[in-house]
């Protein structure tokens, strides 16, 4: 009984609860016939939001004002360049992944250089970078859709023991993220910085180094997500990442991570990602239009922040 009660104290429980309710409402339309299909689809597509969401979560954990708006452009550029480089050859799969990661590193570096050297607020710095990255993506191959190598396409679209492979990848990344956050010194550091930057400095934490690594990490995760998504959907498109700008932020917030920083949690990202996918599916299933869907999304975000937040001095 008490363990059940303490479960409700966890910030991530709300997103899982919401995802479950929506899932249930959706499968009831077919009286449960769609259970497996819907669940598989949900885990497949949630996987991409989870990967970018985790990166964004690390950045948001750094405290007020920290956010990365270059995620969509990073996804697009990484996907485009990697697929162009691999050029449908299975032998190039690893090189493609490496190139995607290098692109992530370069963009992360660019972001932090602007933030630190020019003292631009992260919101504007990462936005400016994203414009440049988007142009680079157009310039590299003018939007031609190159197919992924067959093995990679096969891998990203199939399942293992009924679990989508991309969901497994996302799960592995989540476990790594969870390990980093909960078990390592680095995780303690970002949480400390998010709670109070001066206190973190005084506690001897290398604040700039930690923030820098975090922005790198976010960009690399975005580029890996772009790489996988491009392979999954049969080619990179120039508008591929645009969806993930708001999604990456929304899953973090709905997942119960404190927007004021310092407190993050990985399970919530999964709950929120599943929820974001399922809510669209539910509204589509019930035949509701885009307008209602948007309004509900907005109201849900506000309700979650009202339920979960409001205790700490927020980011202004």
């Amino acid at each position: 009984m008490t363990s059940l009660f303490s479960l409700f104290g966890k910030p991530w429980i709300w997103s899982w609860l919401a995802a479950f309710v929506v899932w249930f409402l959706t499968i009831m339309v077919t009286f449960g016939a769609s259970t497996l299909g819907l669940s598989q689809a949900a885990f497949t597509f949630a996987a991409f939001s989870v990967i970018v969401g985790i990166g964004q979560m690390f950045v948001i954990t750094l405290g007020p004002g920290n956010i990365d708006l270059s995620v969509p452009a990073t996804m697009t550029l990484a996907g485009t360049v990697a697929l162009k480089l691999m050029n449908v050859e299975n032998g190039m799969i690893l090189s493609g992944l490496l190139v995607a990661i290098v692109i992530g590193l370069v963009i992360g570096l660019g972001n932090y250089v602007l933030i630190k050297a020019l003292r631009i607020p992260p919101i504007i710095a990462t936005l400016s970078v994203s414009f440049i990255v988007q142009s680079a993506a157009i310039w590299t191959n003018r939007g031609l859709r190159i197919k992924p190598p067959s093995m990679l396409a096969e891998f990203t679209t199939s399942t293992t023991l009924g679990v989508p492979n991309v969901a497994i990848v996302a799960l592995v990344i989540s476990l790594i993220a969870w390990f980093l956050l909960e078990k390592t010194v680095y995780g303690r550091w970002i949480s400390a910085i998010g709670q109070s930057m001066p206190a973190a400095r005084m506690a001897g934490i290398p604040v700039d180094g930690t923030r820098f690594v975090t922005y790198l990490f976010c960009a690399v995760l975005a580029s890996i997500a772009g790489y996988l998504l491009a392979c999954f959907s049969g080619g990179a498109a120039l508008n591929m990442g645009s969806e993930y700008l708001l999604t990456s932020i929304a899953v973090v917030v709905i997942g119960g991570t404190a927007v004021a920083g310092g407190d993050s949690n990985v399970p919530g990202i999964w709950g929120a990602s599943l929820f974001m996918f399922l809510v669209v599916s539910m509204l589509n299933t019930y035949g509701l239009g885009a307008g209602i869907r948007l309004i509900m999304t907005g109201l849900i975000i506000i309700s979650v922040i009202m339920l979960a937040g409001g205790r700490r001095v927020g980011m202004r």
Partner: protein, 483 residues
Amino acid sequence: MDDVLKAMIAVEDAKVSFGAVRALDGVTLRVMPGECVGLVGHNGAGKSTIVSVIDGGLTPHEGSVASDGERLERYGINAARGRGVRCVFQELSLCPNLSIVENTRIMHRHLGGFGWRRRAAKIIERSLDAVFPGHGIDSGRVVGDLSIAERQMVEISMAFSDAGIAPRLVILDEPTSSLDASLARQMLDHVRRFVAAGGSVILISHILHEILETADRIIVMKDGRVVAERPAQQFDHHGLVKAMGTVAKEETGDRPPRAQSEAALVLSHQTAGRPFTARKGEIIGLAGLAGHGQTELLLALHAAQSGNWLPERDPLVTFVAGDRRLNGVFELWSILRNFSIASLGDLSRRGVIVPDEEQTKGNDWKRRIEIRTPDMANPILSLSGGNQQKVLFARALATHAPVVLMDDPMRGVDVGTKQEVYAIIREEASRGRTFIWYSTEMDEVRLCDRVYVFREGRITAELAGDAVSEANIIAASFEGVAA
């Protein structure tokens, strides 16, 4: 009873607590028209708190406020201002982004309407001219552009300004901390004029001669209570200090005379005044009036010795914060995590924290420094302030940094704990650790082997061995201040 009827303001038996801290423990205080009351007491005695009660910003949990013989039930900021209560707060309370005229507008709620700028300018200029003749401050200037002294002048003039409701009681909480002697003189003269014209003033200051020569009556506070109240003529400097309880306290911990000069130099720093050096095993005090550059030196020492980009395996310095909220505790975390954050390097293998070692070390220090909690996994905010401070001590002492910087770390720490911590500090020092200790408490300063005295951001004196005494420190603190 007669007094109560006549009193401009009368606080009866006010009690205020902040969580576990008893800031006011039954304070009774009256201010008559045409009287300047001096209020003195050690840091944290509750002076600013009683000010907040009088100016309506804080409702006492027990007790009452009366004015002109009438008991005020719904007393708040607006009621107080309506009765002519004005306040100059200890910390800057102007809006730095606004001009002086605009700040005047904010302070006087009823100044609105067409042409308020002209009126506000006239009001504040008249008041500035009256308090600080020949001030040379243009009322159109933005407060952020003013020097600290100019800001304080504006604030003081603001309190004495009259925009419809004439000021009747002006509370000055350490108003002269940033003013030089002649400006302070001008202000004190104005206080006398104001009182002579029938106004009331509460004057709070740590500069005792100001109180002695300006106040009609002096109230001494200690630990949230009034411990003495007499006409000013009946006090002299020594009597006042004695009443504050500073000297009366028995000698805490005799400092064994130690020869230090041959110990290895661990730290040196070039400052605006004398050079700063620290040797192995020394306890070095930073003294002087609050806010005269001691914290800045500690921050500079810390910044110079710690990297911002790469983690350091063997940091030279560690820091104990005095301002817990700002740069001490991590509010979302447990006690254990708050404790271990600075020594994670020792508690981890290849970046991975070893939970058992963390737990063991945490429990070890919990016992050693007696952190009063059933479980180190409890949130840090469940601890009382004093216990939180102990955690910060443990955090610093648990590292193997050879130099510990302490920024007035005993705020809110009770006497018993202090003695425990003093013992630990002495023990660690004898093992070769260096402590650099800023303190506002004379007792603590006297524990030090060597003391640097600060004034206006520079080191003005260095005292060592037997020269470390209250008299010498006070003398050095006020060096250059004309009385």
